[in-house]
């Protein structure tokens, strides 16, 4: 797999990227398959190689709960950072809306590699922080836009 453009490997040399990539195992998902469920144990980080991952949360529609799309991740992006951050539980449900291929990194293997190669661990830590930070800022913006609508509606 090419690591160019993968957010997890940004700033790593090709050699270091290949060494980290060698820790992963491939996973193929059929369309509609669930990668992980809300509240389940988070032991693995996933890099999307092909396809798409939809991150969902349940919303009450009428008299039942329906998983609705919260965010979509595309090839080159990483999902499942809950595996690296305590309490290691997924806070979303991830599904593959179309046939999708991923690379799976187990937390213990990734941590062991980073402990042996602190410079690599530093870069990966910064890349994961960037993923989390980008999501936080995007959701802050989305939240404010919705709040603006609520206020506009209340004042109308």
């Amino acid at each position: 797999m090419q690591t160019n453009g993968a957010d997890l490997f940004a700033g790593l040399s090709p050699l270091d990227s290949a060494a980290v990539l060698a820790l992963g195992t491939p996973l193929s998902l059929a369309a509609g398959a669930v990668l992980f469920g809300l509240g389940s144990d988070a032991d693995c980080l996933y890099l999307i190689r092909r396809g798409r991952i939809a991150l969902m949360l349940p919303m009450q529609l009428g008299d039942r709960d329906e998983d609705v799309l919260i965010e979509e991740r595309v090839p080159g992006q990483t999902v499942g950072w809950s595996a690296l951050i305590p309490p290691h539980r997924f806070t979303l449900t991830a599904t593959a809306p179309l046939p999708t291929e991923l690379t799976v990194f187990r937390r213990d293997a990734l941590f062991a590699h980073c402990a042996q190669h602190p410079d690599v661990g530093y870069v990966i830590g910064m890349n994961v922080a960037a993923v989390i930070g980008q999501r936080l800022q995007v959701f802050q913006t989305m939240w404010l836009r919705e709040m603006q609508r609520v206020v506009n509606h209340a004042r109308a």
């Binding site: 609705v68 799309l69 995007v138 609508r149």
Partner: protein, 107 residues
């Protein structure tokens, strides 16, 4: 005594006639007032126990969107909002923060 009874009857008759004339005189005004304020009329629905308010009245003005359509609208809304938020994240300006999207849920 006869004179007293006659006077009493005439007084009673006078009161009744005055009442009828007053009611007739003010009826048109009351009808005009009622027609002018239709929103103040209280309409009581027939009691429908154990029936959901959403399904009780077939003539309800609430438009019910099929669940599948609603889910698609939510998906489209989320994609558009995420794109708008990511655009703001790249080039943060007040205009970019409040840019309108074509989401059907906000129009």
């Amino acid at each position: 005594m006869e004179m007293f009874l006659m006077g009493l009857c005439l007084s009673f008759f006078g009161v009744v006639v005055s009442g009828i004339l007053f009611a007739a005189a003010t009826r048109e005004e009351r009808e005009r007032e009622t027609a002018r304020r239709p929103e103040e009329r209280v309409v009581l629905d027939a009691p429908q126990f154990f029936v959901s308010p959403l399904t009780a009245s077939p003539a309800s003005p609430v438009v019910r969107v099929p669940l599948e359509v609603l889910l698609l609208q939510i998906e489209r809304h989320v994609r558009l909002e995420q794109a708008a938020a990511e655009s703001f994240h790249e080039f943060p300006t007040v205009e970019a923060l409040h840019v309108q999207t074509l989401s059907p849920l906000v129009h």
